[in-house]
């Protein structure tokens, strides 16, 4: 009995160790138009249904507005607008992905959220040139069977949205 138990433990540990060697990335996948994107799960705070937005005047148009997230006001960015894709009305699949990075909480509006995926980090390739979506904001391309996932570089996204914000203010104050 003892032996069996120890063996199972050892087997488990071996499996764990093997999996630890190939880093598994946990990715929240979502859709924007025809493309499938991914965000590292650790950056995602929660995913909520689209709700009434309050528009904020005199901001770049990709800032679609602000929402009330349990008493906290957070800005929401339309990823379609941000990436220069054509607009479409919100529907029952539209979701807001709430992320936290660099101390800022932000929401991203996406067409739909699909699932949480595990992909081995060694299958992630550097970003190729991709049509409309700016290459800067893609950290890499993940491969899972025959699916391609564009992994977003959240830090880059956040930095450039901050920069835009500053420019807006400067114009206004000039």
């Amino acid at each position: 009995m003892m032996n069996v138990a120890t063996k199972t433990n050892n087997a488990n540990r071996a499996a764990l160790e093997a999996s630890a060697q190939i880093d598994l990335l946990q990715i929240v996948s979502f859709r924007l138009g025809a493309e499938e994107f991914g965000l590292e799960i650790l950056k995602v705070q929660e995913i909520i249904r689209a709700q009434d937005l309050t528009r904020v005047p005199n901001l770049p148009d990709f800032v679609e507005g602000v929402i009330n997230l349990r008493g906290k006001v957070i800005p929401v960015i339309g990823l379609r607008r941000w990436f220069g894709l054509e607009q479409r009305p919100h529907d029952k699949y539209t979701r807001i992905i709430v992320v936290e990075a660099r101390g800022t909480v932000l929401g991203f509006i996406v067409d739909s959220v699909s699932e949480v995926l595990r992909i081995p980090s060694n299958t992630v390739e550097p970003p190729p040139r991709i049509g409309k979506v700016e290459r800067d904001y893609i950290a890499g391309v993940g491969r899972l069977d025959d699916r391609l996932l564009l992994l977003l570089n959240l830090d880059r996204l956040m930095t450039s949205s901050e920069i835009l914000q500053c420019e807006v203010t400067e114009v206004a104050e000039a």
């Binding site: 309050t54 904020v56 005199n58």
Partner: protein, 592 residues
């Protein structure tokens, strides 16, 4: 074991908190000690604080901090043994080392520990001791007895005497002074922790208990209703009762939680003895600082953000306001100038004044300056009253100082003060009398968190206008709006006011009504008329920030959550005014 503990983040955080708090009081205590060198109690307290810091720093392995606090401790011990009294030389050296300790503790809190060069400070402290232990004959007590005088004019050694300590004083004073000045300004640090009286917390806990009871009551009503035990009028009245009790609890809870955020303004005021002392030395002026009303309580965020404006104003008073001692005597004033800081609560506002008995502000000179700077035209200047002219001292880029000193006079001071105050929903004004002095009056809301607002509907959106800026609401006809040189004005009664349409400023769909609803906003002495679609009523509202990346949206002060759970934007009247003004001079293009 030591290593393990030294890496414990909790221990380090506790140490940082404790050390920062201790160091904050050190300056204050040390300066009182300088005033009354016999205050044994004070000396003991300083010694204990330094000793505690040294002990914990040693335990956690911050060796450099230990070295410095050890050297400071030696000097303090020497004072405690009564072998010397706290002269201004000693105090300077100690202040400089406390400043350095503060920097080191801050670095520890940011986990950015570097190697410091402590040799100069340690040498300076040691020098004090060695100078004292070397037999110096009668010259030893000489400069010490002259301490009060020396503290006022440290650069002038006693004539005819070549004492060693005075030499040290002459040599070391210019050194710590420039070094001490920046940290004193930088000491305006954010308080990230706060202490709250247990009674305030007890009150909160009680109210939360009450809140839970009311929730249970509502759940119970819901159950009774769905099971049909309670129907019709009975249910209505029971529900009404429950809701009114709940709103009572909510109001109380709001008040109680806001009270936990209130701290005495002493948290800012207590830095000033040090700021004033250093600055007075630097400028060679004699200054007496009076502080009143330091127990007045304000919201923590307000207190924190008041630090910068107050430092600006006090520096301004010392640099521009107060005259040199000789000049004062020549005018029959006492040699020592007085700067007074005063805080008091008036209604739901806090009024802070910074006053001095200096030379006052010369409106004529200000007028010349603004003409030179091109801030006004010659014709415009003639029409301005002296009060209007004085307002220009708050304009960006204005400075009357003939030369740029490193104290003030870069022309950034007063406009920063006004901007900071505006951000806090406050205001600053000035009153001055030539030859008699100047009073700056700061007015601040008691708390930033809750304000009464007027809700208005514009296009499909609801906006909240802070009630304190709403002068009146009127109905007007479209024919009252006139176009003057491309800018719109509105005639209301006998007055003609600049006019703007909120929907146009905010890029919303415009709706044209024959009969307009107009809110007149008062921002300082300026008025603007703002057209809206509907008035929705008044409300007490909790201000929330728009999030760190939307901090500066022109015309918007913040947000609040409406009864329907949606976010409502709070309009910033001052921002609105500048939007309108920018639109008039055509540098701001509204995207439409």
């Amino acid at each position: 074991m030591n290593d393990d503990l030294a890496n414990d983040p909790t221990l380090i955080r506790e140490f940082v908190n404790e050390a920062q708090e201790g160091l904050q009081h050190l300056d204050e205590d040390l300066l009182s000690l300088e005033q009354s060198p016999d205050a044994r109690e004070m000396l003991d307290r300083i010694f204990r604080t330094v000793h505690t810091i040294k002990g914990t720093a040693g335990f956690l392995g911050f060796d450099q901090l230990v070295t410095l606090s050890h050297a400071a401790e030696d000097v303090l011990n020497w004072l405690r043994k009564g072998e010397s009294v706290a002269t201004s030389v000693t105090v300077d050296a100690l202040l400089a080392s406390f400043d350095r300790m503060r920097v080191m503790v801050d670095d520890i809190s940011r986990e950015a520990i570097v190697q410091y060069n402590l040799d100069d400070l340690v040498a300076q402290l040691r020098e004090l001791l060695s100078a004292a232990t070397e037999p110096t004959g009668t010259s030893g007590p000489g400069p010490e007895a002259a301490a009060p005088v020396a503290s006022e004019a440290p650069q002038v050694p006693e004539a005819g005497e070549p004492p060693t300590v005075a030499e040290a004083s002459a040599a070391s004073v210019p050194q710590p002074a420039p070094e001490a000045a920046p940290p004193a300004a930088a000491a305006v640090q954010r308080i990230t922790n706060m202490r709250v009286e247990v009674s305030k917390l007890d009150e909160l806990v009680n109210l939360v208990g009450e809140l839970v009871l009311q929730r249970n009551r509502l759940a119970e009503l819901n159950r009774q209703y769905s099971e049909g035990q309670l129907t019709g009028a009975d249910f209505d009245s029971a529900l009404g009762d429950a809701i009114s009790r709940l709103s009572f609890v909510a109001d109380e809870l709001q008040g109680a939680s806001l009270r936990t955020r209130m701290i005495p303004i002493d948290n800012v005021f207590r830095r000033f003895p040090r700021v004033v002392r250093d600055l007075a030395h630097q400028l060679g002026k004699e200054v007496n600082l009076e502080i009143h009303g330091e127990e007045t309580e304000l919201d923590k965020t307000v207190v924190e953000q008041m630090a910068d404006p107050l430092v600006h104003l006090v520096r301004n008073s010392l640099d521009h306001g107060l005259e040199m001692p000789e000049e004062r005597e020549a005018q029959g004033k006492p040699r020592t100038g007085t700067v007074t800081l005063d805080a008091a609560q008036k209604g739901d506002h806090i009024v802070i004044t910074v006053s001095d008995d200096g030379r006052g502000i010369d409106a004529e000179r200000v007028g010349k300056k603004i003409l030179e700077r091109g801030l006004v035209t010659q014709e415009r200047l003639r029409t301005l009253s002296s009060h209007d002219i004085l307002e220009f001292i708050f304009a960006p880029g204005f400075s009357t100082a003939e030369t740029i000193s490193n104290v003030s006079g870069r022309g950034v001071g007063l406009d920063v003060v006004r901007t900071n105050l505006k951000q806090l929903n406050g205001s600053v004004s000035v009153r001055t009398e030539l030859g008699a002095g100047t009073v700056f009056t700061l007015q601040l809301p008691l708390t930033l968190a809750v304000i009464p607002v007027l809700l208005v509907r514009v296009a499909q959106e609801t906006y909240a206008l802070p009630l304190r800026s709403v002068a009146e609401t009127v109905h007007a006809n479209r024919s009252d709006v006139h176009d003057v040189d491309g800018t719109e004005v509105i005639r209301i009664g006998e007055r003609v006011l600049p006019f703007c349409r909120l929907e146009r400023l905010f890029g919303l769909k415009s709706s044209d009504h024959e009969l307009m609803r107009v809110v007149i906003l008062a921002i300082g002495d300026e008025r603007i008329a703002v057209a809206v679609d509907r008035f929705l009523g008044q409300e007490q509202t909790v201000i929330k920030s728009l999030g760190s990346c939307l901090r500066h949206v022109p015309g918007i002060a913040g947000a609040t959550i409406g009864g329907d759970g949606r976010v409502r934007l709070i309009v910033d009247p001052a921002g609105l005014l500048s939007l309108v003004q920018q639109q008039q001079i055509g540098t701001f293009e509204v995207a439409m």
